[in-house]
């Protein structure tokens, strides 16, 4: 177990170094920071000084090492566009993105799993077929279109819900939360649905097909032959066996939700990291782009780690055989 965690941590560090390299390369290939920062009028001297200040005269490897060292301490330099530390900018917007992603993930799971179970258990029922057809729309409609349609219907036509922004937020320490005000909660509804819909349909379809698969297995047939109640078979035996793949996908999806928030945040002008990222791309604000990239990669790595640990909880076959050694063999 400990060896496993250490191995996974090392892998995570390697992944982060690689992503760091990509982030760092952005500086070299996207725009010219020096000209961007100097603006139109500058002296050759000023330009030279800035290059030195930014360390751009150093060898490539040294620059990379500095970048990584800075990143490890949460220092990503100064935003070209807003002239403020990047870390500060991201931290300000982190709560908005995480709260939105959390709501979307909870919604996707809370609706996706039961719907998937229902469709798996009633595979030939009309409602299950209808849900399955409708879910195809969820998978194939682009997120921005869903967002715009929701805005059109609930904000423009019905006027029930706000179409942009976070509403009123409350500061808790360094964290700005929208969970504590009515406007904040109302503002969360449409973006959450937009962001969740794709994952929801994906989870539902996954759970359904896993359920169908598991219901065909011998141990489910044997459970039936033992006369267990349907509830025990469906929810005790079958559902639990679908959990391993569902955890994997959901974990990956959670990373996806945080990353995909870019589109949703842009549609709803949600003041999160994704919205910041889009604005930074438009302005070739490389430090923010690089930092965002690394942060998202960090979330992915972290989630993967948690997913792997969850396997251990769900599947006894992965746990270390402590008691088995003595009992094996003898027939």
């Amino acid at each position: 177990m400990i060896a496993f965690v250490i191995r996974r941590l090392l892998q995570a560090v390697l992944v982060m170094l690689a992503v760091g390299f990509v982030g760092f390369s952005l500086f070299a290939y996207v725009g010219d920071p020096v000209s961007i920062m100097l603006g139109q009028d500058y002296t050759q001297e000023a330009r030279q000084r800035l290059i030195q200040d930014l360390g751009l005269d150093q060898p490539f490897f040294i620059q990379y090492a500095r970048f990584i060292a800075g990143a490890a301490q949460g220092e990503f330099g100064i935003s070209y566009r807003l002239a403020r530390p990047v870390a500060e900018l991201l931290l300000e917007r982190l709560p908005a993105t995480l709260e939105l992603s959390l709501c979307a993930a909870v919604l996707a799971l809370a609706a996706g799993v039961p719907l998937g179970v229902y469709c798996g258990l009633n595979r030939d029922g009309w409602l299950a077929r209808l849900l399955l057809s409708v879910s195809l729309i969820g998978v194939s409609l682009p997120t921005f279109l869903i967002g715009i349609l929701l805005i059109l219907f609930f904000s423009v036509i019905l006027g029930w819900l706000p179409s942009f922004g976070r509403g009123d937020v409350v500061q808790l320490g360094g964290w700005s939360t929208g969970f504590l005000t009515p406007t904040g909660l109302r503002a969360l509804i449409l973006p959450s649905i937009t962001l969740a819909l794709f994952q929801l349909t994906l989870i539902m379809r996954l759970v359904r097909s896993e359920m169908l698969e598991v219901l065909r297995t011998d141990y489910i047939k044997f459970a039936r032959a033992r006369g267990l109640r349907n509830r025990a078979i469906n929810f005790g035996h079958a559902l639990k066996n679908t959990l391993v793949p569902v955890i994997t996908i959901t974990g990956l999806q959670l990373g996806g939700i945080i990353a995909f928030a870019i589109v949703t945040e842009t549609v709803f002008q949600w003041p999160g990291m994704g919205f910041l990222f889009i604005q930074s791309v438009q302005a070739a604000d490389v430090p923010v782009m690089a930092a965002y990239l690394m942060l998202i990669a960090f979330f992915f790595v972290l989630i993967n780690l948690v997913v792997d640990l969850l396997y251990y909880l769900v599947d006894p076959r992965l746990r270390i055989d402590k008691g088995a050694a003595g009992g094996h063999g003898g027939h």
Binding site: T217, D218, Y219, K221, F222, A223, R224, A225, R226, G227, L228, R229, N230, A232, G236, H237, K240, N241, V314, D315, P316, R317, D321, G323, A324, G326, G327, H328, G329, G330, H331
Partner: protein, 328 residues
């Protein structure tokens, strides 16, 4: 005569398909007395498993019982609503399937699977259920049962797992066990042990057994009576000595010829020429006639029904009075 425990009468199992209805089990009748072991043999696809599935009420749709009756202790069970039949499964009829490696849920300890079965069918407390589970594990020969009860299926070998499966089938002291090739998936070296165990336990618990197998040796040692199935019908059924030593149906004769004879000059595996017809192309008359060395005109025109010959019933025109009269 004592009352039969299980009576199957004119059982018919069908699969509706796009190209017409397939009759997989056709007009099958047999009975099992309390505590009796009935062996069921026959080539692959003969309908053995489907007959067993029909008895425990777990035919997979679109398969269905399309005719006949199944009675347990005089009560009809083939037309019961799902919930009523569920209470019979596990309680009155236990089942054992072919593959012990896949019969147990990998995510739960064997103890949990045993106690949940016991608690489903018997009015006992959790602690009593656990005690009973440990006792059952000891009975099926799991060493250190008190400790092993908390282990997961993957921590047991195949033979050990089949013992657990047997314990699960016996949880609520059923009167009948339907065992569908319980040892086929196991290592040859432990097959005999498992069969012996199954037989002994069923005797101790007073359970009758319907034992489906390909192994005539197992039948000879274990069964009281044996049913030979061919293309969805029973070709011959009778006491095990008669069927093995004095096979009457030409198909049974062929099957017996295919047992390796130990001690003979050579262990000869006589095979019957040809193969069993598919369900879609069952020949007119006796289904065995294209392969039967003794077939005559009537076999190709009319389907024989079982005819009583001593304690045995044979579905073969050779034993029809008209034919015997003509032969004399």
């Amino acid at each position: 005569m004592t009352q039969n425990l299980l009576e199957v009468e004119n059982l018919r199992v069908e699969f509706p398909t796009r190209r017409g209805t397939l009759v997989a089990v056709d007009d099958v009748s047999f009975s099992i007395a309390p505590g009796e072991v009935l062996g069921v043999v026959g080539e692959s696809g003969a309908g053995k498993s489907l007959t067993g599935a029909a008895i425990i009420g777990l035919l997979e749709p679109p398969g269905r019982v399309a005719g006949g009756e199944i009675r347990l202790g005089g009560q009809r069970i083939d037309n019961l609503p799902y919930e009523k039949m569920r209470r019979i499964r596990g309680k009155e009829i236990g089942a054992i399937f072919q593959d012990p490696l896949t019969s147990l849920n990998p995510l739960y300890t064997i103890g949990r699977q045993l106690t949940e079965t016991i608690l489903t069918h018997l009015e006992v407390s959790e602690a009593e259920a656990r005690d009973r589970a440990i006792k059952l594990l000891q009975e099926v020969g799991i060493p250190a049962a008190e400790r092993r009860i908390d282990h997961y299926p993957h921590q047991f070998s195949g033979g050990m797992r089949q013992r657990v499966v047997i314990a699960l089938a016996l949880c609520a002291n059923p009167r009948l066990i339907v065992a569908d090739e319980p040892t086929t998936a196991l290592d040859v070296s432990i097959q005999a042990q498992i069969i012996t165990l199954l037989k002994r336990l069923c005797r101790d618990h007073g359970a009758a057994v319907m034992l489906v197998t390909h192994d005539m040796g197992v039948i000879a040692e274990t069964a009281d009576r044996v049913a030979v199935m061919y293309a969805g019908r029973i070709a011959e059924i009778g006491p095990v000595r008669d069927v093995i030593k004095r096979a009457k149906h030409p198909y049974t004769e062929g099957l017996m010829g295919s047992i390796p004879k130990l001690g003979g000059d050579e262990a000869k595996l006589a095979q019957i020429d040809g193969s069993m017809p598919r369900l879609t192309a069952i020949p007119k008359g006796c289904a065995f006639n294209p392969r039967c060395p003794k077939a005559f005109d009537r076999c190709r025109a009319e389907r024989p029904d079982p005819i009583a010959v001593g304690d045995t019933k044979v579905a073969c025109w050779l034993y029809d009075d008209a034919h015997k009269a003509a032969a004399e």
